[in-house]
Each structure stands twice: as structure tokens, then as C-alpha cells.
Symmetry: C2
Subunit: 648 residues, 2 copies
């Protein structure tokens, strides 16, 4: 059960078919047009918006693109964009209509019946709604002759038209059956417009719906839009409510993603397309919940409640295995069980459980220890697994012996296996029965009560994908994104947690992909255990010889200047290298071990009051301390060259 083979194969055939059609703009994905169409089809999309630049660079003629899409099972729902058309002087109108005629010819060959026209940003345009309406009427007439439609969209930075109600006013005045609106969630929600008014628009005039989420950023809206859009559920916009309004108005077209994102533009399009599809499925579920009367029920099992971390599994090798075992023993853990058929040890202390797997799954990087799996307690493991599969999580093949627990596992975006189990259950989901007790009597321990969180560095291209994965698949809620300056570059961090904070996973990523100069711990991972008394735990662990990471005196001097903790507390945390943080909700005491192998370490945390963070303010100090240890051990620096307080 505990060593599924890593696999990234997904089953894209079981996309729920009910509800609106799903589409994606080619601009969301990296690659040539051919790459993008293949990725959209593989992820199960029904249709695409074709971005002009993708077509222009393609060796396929429009007719060939049409044929290719048909072969892939994709419709072409929109051709985009047509810019700077309306409210211009007559001679420019002539040129613009000529340009439009060329594009309409192309659309006929392409088999796309709707063109997106963005509100003008041209310096030649004038502020005259009647003129805009008149010229759009002319455009719509030209389109109608060919059986095409024009969807007019207010850009958030349109020169005169930049709100959906203004674009509607122009469409209303133009009054042409081939002219309607394109609504884009980014353009509307980025400006803070109230989307509720969309409910009052006539549904038959809503020609197209483009969806994008975004983080809240203080920047020029055009830059925000062009570089930082996200798939629904990855940002801060209330898209379930937004889509609810649009559907309530009677919109019957596809839900189509249009996401400009610097990372997605250079990431594997097949993975990005799956991420995109997952975002739409999870969005549809939330829209249903908000407005059940409008949308057919999606065949998506609800996320069962989670009740905590069941275990965390580390892959170890000959060198790191004994090192991690010694560290666990010195943290007060006891080796209580041995797997019946595999070289896997169970270590326990209170509710904290760690598995050491000496025959790690294929794909686990060699040379040291790594977190290869995390397991969560699910109220209904089978339902959790069905939900995951429906949401396109790669399901891992199981290799289990007779009578061994039948646990479902999926692969998270970083390759970590995620198990759903019920540790205390009297059935096949209780994995504990796979272990033969070692007979070792639990020691006095060091006060650890359970697992507080697991912290995993994400692959650069998959940070936002990971947050959405845990949100959609496990039902965890993403916490706000934080960024901080670490010694070797900026770090972005975001935790996901269930509503009662029984399961917490802290995701992090370098703000820029690391290059040649990357002297920190590579892709660090750690498991944080909970204690009710960090100082007592630290004292007990020191007695046991735990490899606790030493923190510089300067840190405590600064802490005194900044937060003035009580003198006895300051003295104690200084003595035991415990770090400290405080916010408006409570306090946080935590300490770390040294790195075991190349990238894994442990943390012990005590939460006091309602402190809900992860001590990010202290992370740079931890990183510098880990770096120094690496250099000292590698012989790169000596105490003579750089005098100071070291553990060497």
C-alpha cells in the first residue's frame, strides 16, 4: 500500500459532461497553436478561443485548423481579439471595416462564428456612444452577411468604454441581432464593479463569457491583466457569484478561460490545460452550490471532512535512513511498527506518525531523504478518492499484499503521493494493521502531540496549480499568499488548510526559478510536529541529543528590540534556539532540526491563542543557519575564516 509507483498518467475521459460547455483560450497555454490544441483536447475541453497571434504563426491554413480541431473534438468558439474598431473618424472606419472583412473571411474558413471586439484604446477614437453604436452596427451587419456574430467587450482600461454597463449601453443603442456582449470576469472584477447588475441584462445579448481569477495586486490594471491572471480558484475574485449572475441572466454559451499568466505561458501546456479544466470543474461545483436552480448537477462527489494528518512518509536511502532514524529517536519518537511486506518503519509519538520507506517509489530523487507521501484522515476515503479522480488528479496504481489496507493514493502536482485513510477504522482503510508491532515500549517522548503541518517546496511552474489542487481535490482552503526576502532570493508561500486547521500544508516556491547561484537547501521540505510546550520539548530533545538547528544571538537581540518578550521567555528561547513570532491573534514558538540528507528537516511548533501563521518572518534566519551548517560541513568555511558561534 505504501509504495505506489509514481505516475503522472491521468484519465481524462471521465470529465463530467453536464452543465455548460467548457472552453479555453489558446493564449492561456504555452507552445505553438498545434501544442495548445493538443493540450486542450487532452484535458477534455469542448472548445477553444483562438488567439490571432497563434493562428498567424501557424503553418496550418484556417481550413486546416478547422479540420484539425474537428479531429480533436474541439469547436472554435471565439476568434480574438479585434481591437480599436469603434468611434473613429470616417477614413479610419473604412480601414477598420476592410480589416474586419479580412478577418471575417478567415473566420468563415476557420468555422468560428463569433469575434471578440475589445473597446477601443486608440488615440483616434472619440468619446461618442452614438458614433460607437453606429459603427458597431455597421460591423455587425458585415458579420451577419456571413452568419457571424460580434461580441463587444469593455476592457478595464478602455479609453472611453471600460465598464460592462457602458458596453451594454452601446450594444443596446446599436440594436443589431449580430451584436452582443462579451463579459470578462477580470475586466469587471478588477475594477471593483458590482457584477450583480449582469442579472438584469438580456441573456440572448450575452454572446460570450471569459473567466479569469487574479491575485489582489497594487499595480496598473493592464499589467495586472496581462501578466498575473490565474485560473478560477487560484486568486481572490468571487467567481462562483460572478458566474451565478451571468447564468441567472440566461447566458447559454460556454464557460471559457482567458488567462494571461507569465508562468503558464512558459509551462508544459498539457499540465496547464489539466489545471485549467480542474479549475472549471471546481468552479462549477461552487456555482451550483450558490445557484442550484440554474445549473444541472455536476457529477462531483463532495469533499469529505478531513480530521488531521494520518502520517507523513519519507523516502530514505542507506545514508539518510539511519540519520533520520537517529533524529526521530532524539525527537522522542519510538519505532513502534514494521510493515508486514515492505521495508517501511513506523515511528510514533503522540498523534505524530512518520513512516520511513527504504524502498521508495520510482521517481523519488536519490541522494538523501525526501517527503514522498502525506496521508490525511478522511471521513470517507473512497469518496475522497472518487472526487480526486473526477478532478483529474493522477491516481496512483496500488501495489499491496493480500490483507493489506486498500488505500487510495493520488499524486499532487509536486509528485508527492496523497493517501486518504481512517487510522482508527475497523476496516480496510486502517493502514495501521499493515504494521507488525516492534514491541518497543513508547519512551517518555518529548511532548509532541501530532503533526501541525507539512511544508513542501513546489516546482516553479506548478505553485498556483498546487494551491488549486489541494483546494479542489481535498477541500482545503488557501490562505493568503505571503512573500518574503530570503538570503538567496524572494520566496512566495501559501498554506492550505481545512476549516478546522486539522490538516495544513505549507506550499512555497522561489519567486524566480533558481539558477546557477543557488547555495541554499535545494527544494527544502519539512514536517512540523505540534507540542503544547515548545521549550519543554526543546529541553527534552536536547537531553536526547537531537540535532536542533542553532540560532544566532543576533536574532534574540533583535527580537528583544522588536517585540520585547518577557525576560525569562527570551532567556529560555535563546538557550534552546527556539524562534518566536507574535501577531494580533496569538504567539508562535518553533524550532528546527538540521537538514537530514540533502533537503528534509523537522520542525516543532507551539501555537498559543489563535496564531494561524507559520513564522515566515523567521524563515530567513533558519535558511542562513542551514546554509552555514552546509558550508561548515562541506569544509567551505572554517571557524577561523568566519569567527562566530557555531555548533561545529
Amino acid at each position: 500500500m505504501l509504495a505506489p509507483e509514481m505516475s503522472t498518467s491521468t484519465r481524462h475521459r471521465h470529465i463530467p459532461a453536464s452543465g455548460p460547455r467548457r472552453a479555453i483560450a489558446t493564449v492561456c497555454l504555452s507552445g505553438t497553436l498545434e501544442d495548445k490544441l493538443a493540450a486542450a483536447a487532452a484535458a477534455g475541453f469542448d472548445g477553444v478561443e483562438i488567439f490571432e497571434n497563434d493562428l498567424v504563426a501557424s503553418p496550418l491554413s484556417p481550413a486546416q485548423v478547422r479540420e484539425h480541431c474537428a479531429d480533436l473534438g474541439l469547436t472554435i468558439d471565439l476568434y480574438q481579439p479585434f481591437r480599436d474598431f469603434e468611434a473613429v473618424p470616417p477614413e479610419l472606419l473604412t480601414a477598420n471595416l476592410r480589416r474586419a472583412a479580412h478577418k471575417f473571411d478567415l473566420m468563415e474558413q476557420l468555422g468560428a462564428d463569433t469575434v471578440l471586439v475589445c473597446s477601443s484604446v486608440s488615440p483616434s477614437a472619440v468619446d461618442d456612444d452614438d458614433l460607437a453604436a453606429e459603427q458597431l452596427h455597421a460591423l455587425a451587419s458585415l458579420a451577419a452577411e456571413r452568419g457571424l456574430r460580434v461580441a463587444y467587450e469593455a476592457l478595464a482600461w478602455g479609453r472611453f468604454v471600460n465598464t460592462y454597463d457602458h458596453s451594454w449601453e452601446i450594444v443596446r443603442r446599436a440594436d443589431h441581432p449580430a451584436l452582443g456582449l462579451c463579459l470578462d470576469s477580470f475586466h469587471i472584477l478588477s475594477r471593483g464593479s458590482d457584477p450583480a447588475g449582469i442579472r438584469d441584462l438580456p441573456g440572448e445579448k450575452l454572446f460570450f463569457l471569459q473567466l479569469a481569477d487574479a491575485p489582489r495586486l497594487e499595480m496598473d490594471v493592464l499589467q495586472w491583466s496581462r501578466h498575473h491572471r490565474l485560473f478560477p480558484g487560484q486568486g481572490v475574485f468571487d467567481l462562483p457569484a460572478f458566474v451565478g449572475h451571468v447564468l441567472a441572466a440566461g447566458y447559454g454559451g460556454p464557460l471559457s478561460l482567458e488567462v494571461f499568466n507569465d508562468v503558464f505561458r512558459q509551462a508544459d501546456p498539457e499540465r496547464a490545460a489539466v489545471d485549467a479544466m480542474r479549475s472549471l470543474l471546481a468552479l462549477q461545483e461552487r456555482v451550483e452550490t450558490a445557484a442550484p436552480e440554474r445549473v444541472p448537477v455536476l457529477d462531483l462527489p463532495a469533499a469529505p471532512d478531513l480530521a488531521g494528518h494520518a502520517f507523513t512518509e519519507l523516502a530514505v536511502d542507506e545514508v539518510s535512513g539511519p540519520q533520520v532514524s537517529r533524529a526521530l529517536a532524539a525527537l522522542g519518537f519510538t519505532h513502534t511498527g514494521q510493515h508486514r511486506s515492505k521495508p517501511v518503519q513506523l515511528w510514533q509519538q503522540g498523534g505524530a506518525r512518520v513512516l520511513l520507506n527504504a524502498a521508495p517509489p520510482r521517481g523519488t530523487s536519490p541522494g538523501g531523504a525526501a517527503v514522498c507521501a502525506l496521508a490525511v484522515e478522511s471521513a470517507d476515503p473512497a469518496r475522497s478518492a472518487r472526487r480526486a479522480e473526477t478532478l483529474l488528479a493522477p491516481v496512483l496504481p496500488r501495489t499491496r499484499g493480500a490483507d493489506e489496507a486498500d488505500l487510495s493514493a493520488i499524486a499532487a502536482p509536486d509528485g508527492t503521493s496523497v493517501f486518504f485513510c481512517r487510522t482508527g477504522a475497523d476496516d480496510a482503510t486502517s493502514w495501521l494493521s499493515d504494521f507488525t508491532p516492534t514491541g518497543a515500549a513508547p519512551g517518555a517522548g518529548a511532548g509532541l502531540t501530532g503533526t501541525d503541518h507539512v511544508a513542501l517546496t513546489q516546482p516553479f511552474d506548478h505553485f498556483d496549480e498546487a494551491a488549486l489542487f489541494y483546494r479542489a481535490v481535498l477541500g482545503l482552503e488557501p490562505e493568503p499568499v505571503t512573500e518574503f526576502a530570503a538570503p538567496f532570493g524572494l520566496i512566495r508561500s501559501r498554506a492550505v488548510a481545512d476549516p478546522s486547521h486539522e490538516v495544513r500544508i505549507a506550499l512555497s516556491v522561489a519567486l524566480l526559478r533558481r539558477g546557477e547561484w543557488a547555495p541554499g537547501v535545494p527544494d527544502p521540505q519539512h514536517v512540523a510536529f505540534a507540542t503544547d510546550d515548545a521549550i519543554a520539548s526543546a529541553r527534552a530533545m536536547r537531553a536526547l541529543g537531537a540535532p536542533v538547528l542553532e540560532i544566532p544571538d543576533n536574532y534574540y537581540d533583535d527580537l528583544d528590540a522588536r517585540l520585547a518578550p518577557p525576560a525569562d521567555l527570551l532567556a529560555a528561547i535563546r538557550e534552546y534556539s527556539v524562534l518566536y513570532d507574535r501577531d494580533e491573534y496569538g504567539e508562535f514558538l518553533h524550532f528546527y532540526t538540521e537538514v537530514l540528507g540533502s533537503r528534509v528537516f523537522f520542525e516543532v511548533v507551539q501555537r498559543i491563542g489563535g496564531y494561524a501563521g507559520y513564522g515566515a518572518v523567521n524563515a530567513p534566519v533558519r535558511m542562513a543557519a542551514h546554509r552555514r551548517l552546509r558550508m561548515v560541513r562541506a569544509g567551505g568555511i572554517t571557524d577561523r575564516a568566519l569567527p562566530g558561534r557555531t555548533s561545529a
Copy 2:
């Protein structure tokens, strides 16, 4: 002469000693405090500003840091930052003075005599200049007791104090000898404040000067400041004028760099420190020019005029060598010379010269062809070389035979060798005499007249360094930065050119460092040759069998819709796969060859009128076409799978 060994060794001993002292804030550089201090010292800085977070994470005590800096020859010119001090209620003042006392203790141990106090952003602060002045007076009194000084700085986003004249008004009212101003070019110039008023401030109250450049960005000023600052000469601020004002006021402290930059934060600190020092030396030269009476003369030879590209040298191997030779022949070049002692061929057509080096310098990546050197015509090669060396350019060791030309070469940030020469000269700087004529009669050619530009992808961490390198060392002027969406991610591009556009180098970089999904040409490089008639050249080259890159029909259809070129022109460029661009100054016709080896190709360009760009709008089309050829040749796609117009 033509195969210097690659070396990145620099001589940091010859930093000009005249003029103000030079300092750098540790926050500019990546790494731990120890890494940063080592890098600053190696680059020849006189002093550092120590950023609090760097000290806090260091195992060195403040006294040890002091000692370590002294060993490295560095003074500690500023400790920073102290935030949110002034204009607060009494109980907060008490806490703030306690915090300050802690930091002053630390500064005494550190041997730093000046602390930076940033104008408050605290919600507890009130808008009361007299209160601010009174409390800063109290802080200055506390500092003065220890012989320390307080430098008060208006943050551009300070809550009440965000301009230098406002900060000066408060310092004036406080009237304490230990209280003065810190001026930061970013905070002043980002807001568009007129810095000329600085001339009227009393010099003895200017305690510190922090320098940063920046690109012009439309974003929140705090984000702009924290992520996108640049070293002087890399952005758009007029720093020579700014520094001129500050020196005119009588400022006598160091010129100190304080640059928050996401890329520099994760780049090799030793290289970043050299880049930083080069920026200060080049800035000082420009300040001198602007205000010669205020600054002692810097011992920096002026940049000689450049008169064009002398040659471009490609490293080739057994496979790519014949391929490139065939391509050059088909582009109308003639193999006119053979190096007297090395396996280097000279190919010429008009003023365009290419060297093919079959024994490329060590360090050149194997597997295909690569641009290993570019040579520029200098009015004074020896002076060019002296200037380069003074500006910390790595000087390449020369390996030349007796009687061979004595050319100086330096290494650009991407490792390309840069030679200074005088092709027509009757002396040792004429490299042509190193070649024995082959006796081959020049063919009819294909109309090429010279080298228009060399386009080089830069290493991710060194794009801004490269622009400054060419600006400072060669005296080329950077053109505006452009960004465009390419099939595999966003590309940033910036050209540098001499005032008469005889020498042009186009630098580009991926906006995000490429990851696993990077199917484009890796780090492409190309040499662009000039013609007076692109269509005639294309016709001639087709007759010669040149491997011209085929451009899709869709491109021409779109061009017709967008720019409506004359029908005969459109037909001709469509026939010959010539790309087209137009701007307010003129027109641009250009076409490309296929990729030769793994990354190099050639371009032919015709500039009409004053067109000064590089056809960036067409680059994505070229990239997609190159990608498709690679896939077709690798067997990754077949014409059946993806029907279309191909050259296969």
C-alpha cells in the same frame, strides 16, 4: 589572436581611487552577510550599508562583523533601516526609544556611526511636523550621546512625509547636529520630484546618499521600489544630474547603492557586486562631465568612437562547420581567407565578415555553432581596451603567433569575446593581415553590404548587467526595453547601439528562466546582415539554395489586414518569406535562415527610412517556424499529423 581563452578573472585592484568613496547596501546582493561582504570587498567597494535582516541572520556578533569588515577593507557606513519612529503617541515613543537604544548599542559594537530612519508608514503616526521634529530631536540626542548620527529619509510612500523637502523641513525644525537627511534617488525621482532643489540644502545636513536607478513602470511605487530597482545606468533616471545636485550642495559622504531587485537577490553576489561597481564608475564619469568643478577627475579613458562591426566569429564543430559554410556560400559569401596559424576561415561579402573557428575557445558549448566573438571598429583600440579594463571587464589572455595582430579582447557578461580593432589600419590592430588570401574570387554575392546587428540571448541573471556593460565599456546607448509574447513565454529585449547606429547589439532574455518545458531554440543567437534590397537578396539567395526559413501564409494574410502593404510588395515578400514591419519612421524588411547547429541562424535586413527597431513584432512567427522545423526534423511531427505548408 582569434582564440583567446575564456576567462572570467577580473582585476579588481585598479579601481580608480579618486572622487567620493563608494559603498553598497548588503540588500543589493544575494547570500548571507558573509557572502555579501566578501563580494563587496572583492569588487573594490570602500564601504557597506548593513541591512538589519542580514545581521540578524548572521552567526557573527556585531563586534565580529566589525572586525571582519576591517579585515576586508570595508567601512560600515550605514546601519538600516529603522522604521516607524516619529510622530507617535507618548507610550509608543517610549517603546520606540527603547528599540532605538538597543540598535544604538548594536551600532556601537558594529562601528557604524549612522542609522537610517525611514519616514513613518505606521497607522499610529499623526500628521504633525512639530511632533515629528520633537521626537526625532529626542532620537538624535540619544544617538549623540554615543557619537552616532541619525539620517532621516522620506520614503516615496511615507504616510505623511514622502518628499525630500518635507523631510528637510522636519530636520530643520528639529535642529539637532546629530540629525540630518538621507537622500535616496529612487524615492525622489520615482515621484517625479524636481531634484534641483537639493542644491539649496546645507551640505553638512546631507548625512547620506543612496543611489538606485529603475525602469519606468506603471505600478504601485512600493512594489516598484522593492522589486525593480536597478544599478545606475540600467534604468531611466537621470542620475548624473541627480548626483550633480547633491554634490553641488556640498555632500561629502559616499555614493552608496541601495538596489532592491528580484534578480540580483538570487544571482551570484560576486558578479552582481562587480556590476554594481561598474555602474558607479560609469556614473561618476557622467557626473564629472555634467559638473566637472565638483568632482575630482576619474582616471577613466573616454570611450573611443566606434565605426561598425569588424567581424563576427562563430565557433563550429565537425558537424556544424560544413553546415554553416554551405549556408554562408548560399547567402553569397566567399571564403576569402585562411588564418595563418589557426583553423579559422574568413568569409566576406561587401562589408560583412564572418569568421568560422574550428578550434573554438575553451568554454564554448559543444554541439553546434555559437557566436564566440564580436569585433568592433574602434577609433583607438588600445584606449578601448584600457577603458574596458578600468571598468572591470574581464580581459582575455591573448594567444597569438609572431607577427600576428595584437588585438585586445574582453569577455562580455554572456561570455562572448569582444575585440577592438581597426580593419583598415596599417598597424598591429589590423587583423586582416593574419589571414592568407584563399585566392577565391568574390562571387556576385547577394547584395549584402555589412553587419546590421548581432543578436545574443543573455544569461537570465545578467540581462541588465549586459546592457550596462555595453553602455559603460563600449559607450553604446541602450534603447528602450521591449517585451513581447513568444510561443514559449515572454521575451524581454533591449538593443544597444552607438549614436550613429554603426554598431548594434540586440540583447534578449526570457522574462522567466526557462524550465523543463522549453521547446524553443535554446539561447538563440543570430547575426543580421544588411542589404539595400531585401527582396533582391532573397531572390539571389534562393537561386544559390540558401536555407531560408519559410513563413506561413497566415502571416501574410494578417499583414494585409493590418498594414495593407502594396499588392506587389505583399506578393513578393510572400513569395520569398520576407517579414515586414513599419513604424512612424520607416519600414523594415527581413528574413531568416533555418537554425544551423543547435542555436545559431542568420538574418538579412533592409532598413527603409528611419526605422530603428528589430522587427520584434515578427519574432514570434520566426520562433514558431524554427520550432516546427526542429520537430519535423526530429520526427516529432509528420506532415500527415499536422497538415500544412512545410519545406520538408
